[in-house]
């Protein structure tokens, strides 16, 4: 075992592994970042190309998968890594939905700025309410966020003059563009982009969400969140600025359900309070995240794919079983697969063991 003091500029070597940038990285994990990057590029390429051959139904399904990935990944920021179970995703989804929808309804801005404002606005709101709310310990925080989501729903319903209350908000549908004769490949691609705008928007959102999840998972910020999850009192006693860390994670995580909500509103063309504030959005985020594996990067992706495909199948059979499936799934996962699919796959040796996943 060579001493790290001998080579102050080279990575320390302990046994046959390497410590790179202060993180333990046995063998193959050194390349994890590159592996992810390659997968991301390939997947993105595939997903960009996808609408050109898929049916409209398949594309809308893929949109839901991408949305669920964003929801679950962002839920992980505070709740997976940091251990603060949040039921607030429904609230932020609804707020983002309404912000985006109303901006478009009153024709204040075009859709891309509307969606971005919805997301960032929710992020800022989260930073503001985060300070008082994150002082609460575990169960109190969970209850507070449940109350917050419901309170948002009620207030939006009541503020009829602006939000049109229970009547709901109609959004202009995107006009389908047809190919002209003699269109170049580039033209065709432009049309494809236009006709599937919401899908591509969700794709961008999902990529950002997963990238941030990766950045958190491999940074000191992520370590601080894990420390908070394990023992917040000890973390604080050791000098970790727990309040700042929690609020940052909370603010970041709120951006995604809000943006997704805004895009979703555009996709379905009509929203009303019960629909977008439905606690099902929180359920979906949580179920996906824990199904895939809490506090992991790949977990939400795997969870989203599995969950969406399963629930679509279920929807075809019997729409009302939707909730039953979700509920039953959560119960089963909590009891028998608390580590989620990722952990299961790791135990079976299908995936290499690493908390970095």
């Amino acid at each position: 075992m060579s001493s790290p003091i001998d080579h102050p500029t080279a990575p320390a070597e302990v046994e046959d592994t390497t410590i790179v940038r202060g993180r333990p990285t046995p063998g193959w994990e050194r390349y994890l970042g590159w592996i992810y990057l390659v997968i991301l590029i390939l997947a993105t390429g595939f997903l960009i190309w996808y609408p050109s051959t898929a049916t409209a139904y398949a594309v809308s399904l893929a949109l839901i998968v991408l949305m669920t990935i964003s929801l679950a990944s962002s839920w992980n920021f505070l709740s997976g890594f940091g251990g603060y179970t949040s039921f607030g995703h429904a609230g932020f989804f609804g707020i983002g939905s309404y912000t985006g929808a109303l901006l478009l309804h009153y024709e204040k801005v075009s859709w891309i700025p509307a969606v971005i404002i919805a997301g960032l606005g929710a992020g800022m709101l989260a930073l503001v309410i985060g300070y008082p709310v994150l002082r609460l310990r575990g169960p109190y925080f969970a209850i507070a966020m449940l109350a917050f989501s419901e309170l948002c729903r009620v207030l939006i319903t009541a503020w009829e003059s602006v939000t049109l209350g229970g009547h709901g908000v109609y959004l202009p549908i995107v006009r389908f563009q047809r190919e002209e004769d003699g269109a170049t490949a580039w033209d065709r691609f432009g049309i494809q982009l236009h006709n599937n705008q919401n899908y591509y928007a969700m794709l961008v959102l999902a990529i950002i969400a997963v990238s941030i999840a990766y950045a958190i998972g491999t940074s000191r910020f992520g370590l601080e969140l894990l420390a908070i999850r394990d023992d917040e009192v000890a973390a604080q006693s050791m000098g970790i600025q727990t309040t700042r860390v929690k609020i940052t994670a909370f603010g970041l995580s709120a951006i995604f359900p809000a943006t997704a909500g805004a895009i979703y509103a555009r996709q379905v063309g009509y929203i009303d309070p019960p629909t977008v504030f439905l606690v099902i959005w929180s359920i979906r985020s949580i179920a996906t995240a824990i199904l895939g594996g809490q506090g992991t990067i790949l977990g939400p992706i795997i969870g989203a794919i599995v969950l969406t495909l399963v629930s679509e199948r279920v929807w075809e059979i019997n729409p009302n079983l939707y909730q039953v499936i979700f509920g039953g799934l959560i119960v089963l996962v909590v009891l028998f697969m608390p580590g989620g699919l990722i952990f299961l796959l790791q135990k079976r040796g299908i995936l290499p063991r690493s908390r970095r996943l």
Binding site: P139, L151, T157, L335
Partner: protein
């Protein structure tokens, strides 16, 4: 006069809320489990009363012991098979488990009974009595009386009976209770069963006052949390006081503004209390 009537109406409603919240409080006290499915247990009690009334013409008051027993059994079963497993695990597990159960039960109910609103319109209890010049809703008064009875009986049970003391001991310090020879597992089974029964009774009573639907559980659990947090986790008296306060402020809000905002009262109260004084009015600081 009008205002007094409204306040009285709210107080009566608060009594029923208290019964519901007390069960939730007890479960939390004994097992440190936040039972997010409590609302659905209430909902099931309400539907038992509804179906017994509409299909078999059973007097709603008579259906109360039936729904209580049914949910007692269900509660014990749920505890035995599911909740017991997450009792000593971190909070997230029990939170998610009961959340999953809640979603599951609500989903099953939606499937079986659709989301239409149902009501129990039993003629002896429709309309109101004249009490000292105030019009008092018959159903609310009777519901309040029964809720008071059950809550009082439970309180007596906890205070005087041996098993009641075992429950209290466990909720104060489970490990020590176990060392003293108390079968904490049995205590937990009984507590969840009892809490479920209380939820069921409150559901039956609510069915006599309001229309019901499979989604009602979600609404009431928010109120229960507001009550428990306001009154202070672990305090029986606090729950009662908190419930009366909430019932009254809700009814007043509905009277002066519109019903929508009345719903917000519970959540607003909850958030305010959590932010200003998390231990509530009577709670012990944990």
């Amino acid at each position: 006069m009008d205002v007094l009537q409204v306040i009285l109406s709210g107080l009566l409603l608060g009594g029923v809320y208290a019964l519901f919240a007390a069960g939730l409080n007890m479960i939390f006290g004994v097992m440190r489990v936040i039972n997010l499915a409590h609302g659905e247990l209430m909902m099931l009690g309400a539907y038992i009363t509804f179906f017994l009334f509409s299909q078999a013409g059973v007097n709603p008051l008579l259906s109360i012991p039936l729904s209580a027993v049914a949910l007692l059994v269900l509660g014990v079963l749920l505890q035995f098979t599911l909740v017991e497993r997450v009792v000593n695990q971190p909070l997230l597990s029990s939170l998610l488990l009961t959340f999953g159960l809640s979603t599951l039960m609500m989903g099953i109910a939606l499937n079986l009974w659709t989301s239409n609103f149902r009501s129990v319109a039993w003629s002896p209890l429709t309309g109101s009595w004249d009490v000292a010049g105030l019009a008092v809703s018959k159903s609310r008064l009777v519901a309040f009386a029964i809720a008071l009875l059950v809550t009082g009986a439970t309180w007596l049970f906890l205070k005087k009976s041996i098993f009641g003391k075992a429950i209290r001991a466990t909720s104060q310090h489970a490990e020590v209770a176990q060392i003293c020879g108390i079968d904490v597992r049995r205590v937990r089974l009984a507590t969840f069963g009892l809490g479920s029964a209380m939820a069921a009774i409150s559901g039956s009573l609510i069915a006599m006052i309001f229309t019901i639907s499979p989604e009602m559980g979600r609404m009431f659990i928010g109120k229960a949390f507001a009550i428990i947090v306001l009154g202070g986790l672990g305090s029986f008296a606090g729950t009662f006081v908190g419930a009366l306060l909430l019932g009254t402020s809700e009814t007043l809000a509905a009277y002066y503004t519109d019903t929508q905002l009345a719903e917000a009262v519970a959540y607003a109260v909850l958030l305010l209390v959590l932010l200003i004084r998390p231990s509530g009015l009577f709670g012990r600081a944990e």
